[in-house]
Amino acid sequence: MRLFDLSHLASEVQWTMTGVAIALVIASITWRLLKMRHPERDYRELHLRVRTWWVIVGLFGLAIALNRTASFVFLAFVSFLAFKEYLSLIPTRRADHRVLFLAYLAIPLQYLWVYQGWYGMFIIFIPVYMFLLLPARMVVIGETSGFLRAVGTLHWGLMTTVFSLSHAAMLFMIRPTEASRYVPIWPSETGRLNPGPGLLVLLILLTQGNDVAQYIWGKTLGRRKVVPRVSPGKTLGGLLGGVLTTTLTACLLGPHLTFMDWKRSLMAGLIIGLGGFAGDVSISALKRDLGVKDSGTILPGHGGILDRVDSLTYTAPLFFHFVHYCYC
């Protein structure tokens, strides 16, 4: 295919994406078969769900196939949509109009630090500078009624949708150093030159797979509820089964896609399994507080962006910092 020069993408990443595409084809065929077998049942939701998955995987695949910048732009756009969705959900004040504008400017800047590989700025820009700047701007405007709620919700939203998710993009800039605590085991020559896509694909695959695994195990084994007041669908069986599945999958896929050995991959799987659950229920708690069922409507068949990236808001920073600790 002369349109894309895929030589920058390691073969193991290309094969994994192909595998994902095949899984989607199977999902599409399954829907079609179900529709034919049971024409009286309504499979519209399933159809929309699978179709949206095609769009998401397609765009993501396109971004990583093109180049690093395309991937950063894609992920920055996801952060933008997530932050916008969050602000549209929560109560906001008219007085904070210009403060919110400033907050949005943090998005291109945060991803600029990623693009430049400026780790020091990437890690403090939102937790320190935006954290200090936004309340100061609010104080200058002077509307004190609702000040605490405004600063609290704004910072939490920025941290969750921008700071957390940007860790996924920063994976592209990870390069094992001499101070590495463990020996990197390169999956391929291209993987050694460009390890980022492999790490990102592993993160996304394990995170989404963890969601699915917890759901399936929950339906099969689950009885005792873990967080009944927040998410009545989550059971202990689902959680443990899902974490186990994710840990094992990570053990198998990790060394294949990334420079991690099987032990580190196993740990990463455990982290993603638990973190994914925590992220999922944290957004569920938010939705319950606000009295909404879906965070938005932008993804047909799924709901909103936050519904889709909730697990990622926890797994991205946890996975990044684990890899960073072990190898940098």
């Binding site: 933008f80 916008k84 549209s88 004040r93 008219r94 109009h97 210009r98 504008f101 949005y104 009624s145």
Partner: protein, 219 residues
């Protein structure tokens, strides 16, 4: 020339801003009229309202849809006048009564006779962001003159948060659009305004509105 400019403006500026930077969540899009003459009656909170409604119709219907706009505001200087007429394509409405002998609704009637889809804001002006004001009765006079023209009520929420009156910078928010069933002149001005009011209220009730505190409201 200006038709090409208008096309380019809507395709390259308005649509990306309204659909990507802001983002619309539209309910019952199928209730929008395919052809004119028709009147869209919507609530008014922002300068973004008219162009958002025009975006709902798509590029192929762009030449058919026109907002009715007050000349005392939109013709207040030469640049605004050129922009409103040539790029947006407004139907001018002269709100100043008494000083002129002509019928202020004449350009509007002419546009309806020509089969256009008109956008009207019965509140008359942008109020406090996301608050519904009392409706002016001009729309009733118009409906009486054109009893066969359907009136489609539309309620929008979110644009008043993105670009409220008095602010110059745009803050991205998702915008909800609720389109209602059309109705026509029913013989009485009071009954007509009653129906318009109740339709808008029920559309507004469908909308989830997170607290939007303005300076006047208490904590």
């Amino acid at each position: 020339m200006s038709r090409a400019l208008r096309f380019a403006f809507f395709l390259l500026v308005v649509r990306p801003v309204i659909l990507i930077i802001l983002g619309l969540n539209v309910r019952r899009r199928h209730l929008l009229p395919q052809n004119g003459p028709a009147i869209i009656a919507a609530n008014h909170n922002s300068h973004l309202d008219a162009i958002t409604l025009m975006t709902l119709f798509g590029m192929s219907q762009l030449h058919q849809v026109s907002p009715v706009a007050a000349v005392d505001y939109f013709h207040r200087n030469r640049l605004m006048k050129w922009f409103s007429n040539e790029i947006i394509g407004i139907i001018p409405l002269n709100r100043r009564i008494g000083t002129q002998r002509d019928d202020p609704l004449e350009p509007v009637s002419k546009a309806l006779a020509a089969g256009k889809i008109l956008i009207l804001f019965p509140e008359g002006t942008r109020g406090e962001p996301e608050e519904l004001q009392e409706f002016r009765t001009g729309i009733a006079h118009l409906a009486k003159r054109h009893p066969d023209v359907p009136i489609i009520p539309v309620f929008m929420y979110g644009l008043g948060k993105s670009l409220p009156r008095g602010e110059g910078i745009l803050v991205p928010f998702f915008c909800d659009v609720f389109i209602g069933q059309d109705f026509r002149w029913n013989g009485s001005r009071e009954a007509f305004m009653q129906i318009l009011s109740s339709r808008m209220s029920s559309l507004a009730d469908e909308c989830r509105k997170p607290d939007w505190e303005t300076e006047d409201s208490s904590a």
